[in-house]
């Protein structure tokens, strides 16, 4: 099988280039893309990429596989092949550190901006803040995000304004805290989002929903934030 990998080492290369590798895969087994990368790294130790859990829970190995963002560890080669060829590139839109490794600084900055932690002014109870099963249910489909950045780096609005538009991942988390019955900063949080960029740069293209490896729906969360802003203003 032919694997084409985006290579760039800023210390040596003037410009990025695609390098082709030929690899024999074991018969009758559908490997994951990460397995193929590991085999290739044994051939050429200079290939760089991030990975850790190899089972879709840590969010380290987000990359662009034949044009679609996803986690290499849970994407079967058969799904990522395009015309018999596997093309691996770093996630688009963020600066490349080396090969498939990107600088996630801008992505985390947006995450930090939405204050991803519970804010509650009431004195803490002796044991814990309780939630009813119904209140807890509201967080389903939100808390599972592993911050892999597959969605935000697939979003054109995030490509053009990564410093101003929070992006699908950050907004999904913003809604996770807006929807939490234990959080008391709802009004402050909404005020921080009511500008022409943070939320409203989303044009509902749904690239984010299309790529999320955890099957989450940031577009729906963004719609819910918009509804909350609307309810507050009317």
């Amino acid at each position: 099988m032919l694997v084409s990998i985006y290579r760039y080492n800023p210390e040596k290369d003037d410009a990025p280039y695609m390098q082709d590798y030929q690899i024999e895969l074991p018969e009758g087994k559908d490997l994951m893309v990460l397995d193929v990368l590991n085999l290739l790294k044994a051939q050429d130790p200079s290939i760089s990429y991030r990975r850790s859990c190899r089972e879709g829970v840590c969010g380290s190995d987000g990359m662009n596989m034949s044009g679609k963002n996803g986690l290499a560890c849970i994407t079967p080669v058969s799904e990522a092949l395009k015309n018999g060829k596997l093309i691996l590139r770093p996630l688009p839109g963020l600066p490349v550190v080396r090969d498939l490794v990107i600088d996630m600084g801008q992505f985390y900055k947006q995450y930090e901006k939405i204050r991803p932690y519970l804010i509650n002014d009431a004195p803490a109870p002796a044991i814990e803040r309780l939630q009813s099963p119904e209140e807890r249910e509201k967080l389903d489909g939100l808390y599972e995000c592993i911050l892999c950045a597959c969605c935000s780096t697939a979003c054109p609005s995030f490509w053009w304004n990564p410093d101003k538009f929070v992006g699908p991942s950050g907004l999904l988390q913003a809604y996770r805290f807006l929807a939490d019955s234990r959080d008391t900063a709802t009004q402050e949080r909404l005020s921080g989002l009511d500008d022409p960029f943070s939320v409203f740069r989303c044009h509902g293209i749904m690239n984010c929903v299309n790529v999320c490896p955890k099957g989450l729906n940031p577009t729906k969360a963004i719609g819910n934030i918009r509804t909350m802003l609307l309810q507050r203003a009317t």
Binding site: S157, W160, N161, K164, S191, G192, L193, D194, D195, P196, F197, S198, V199, F200, R201, R226, L229, L230, A233
Partner: protein, 115 residues
């Protein structure tokens, strides 16, 4: 919170609402004009003229004119902040758009109200 002085209103929600409402006015007008033309296959000049003489039609047309201004300003402003990264050219583009919309609205008012 991102502040931007060239956006239409100060708030994203307000811009978003205006974009939706102006779109509604524009589509109602389009449907009305197309419907009117279909229902009056042998339309005469006098009939067409009388339609635009009516005060309600003038008000409706004026609303449409203002909606075009608002809708295109918000849209073109978004496009310029997406694709034109250098401040100078972006400001120039926004100024040209703003000026064009102002001229269209003043001119349109003259035409509609027969001034």
């Amino acid at each position: 919170m991102v502040t931007q002085i060239t956006s239409f209103g100060r708030s994203g929600l307000y811009d978003w609402m205006m974009q939706r409402m102006s779109a509604l006015v524009l589509s109602l007008y389009t449907v009305f004009i197309i419907g009117y033309l279909l229902l009056n296959p042998d339309l005469t000049y006098t009939q067409w003229n009388a339609l635009f003489e009516a005060t309600w039609m003038r008000v409706f047309s004026l609303m449409v004119l203002l909606s075009i201004g608002v809708h295109s300003w918000i849209g073109l402003w978004s496009i310029s902040t997406d694709y034109i990264k250098a401040t100078g050219p972006r400001f120039f583009f926004q100024s040209v758009c703003g000026l064009a919309m102002f001229v269209y609205i003043v001119w349109g008012v003259q035409v509609i109200w027969g001034l």
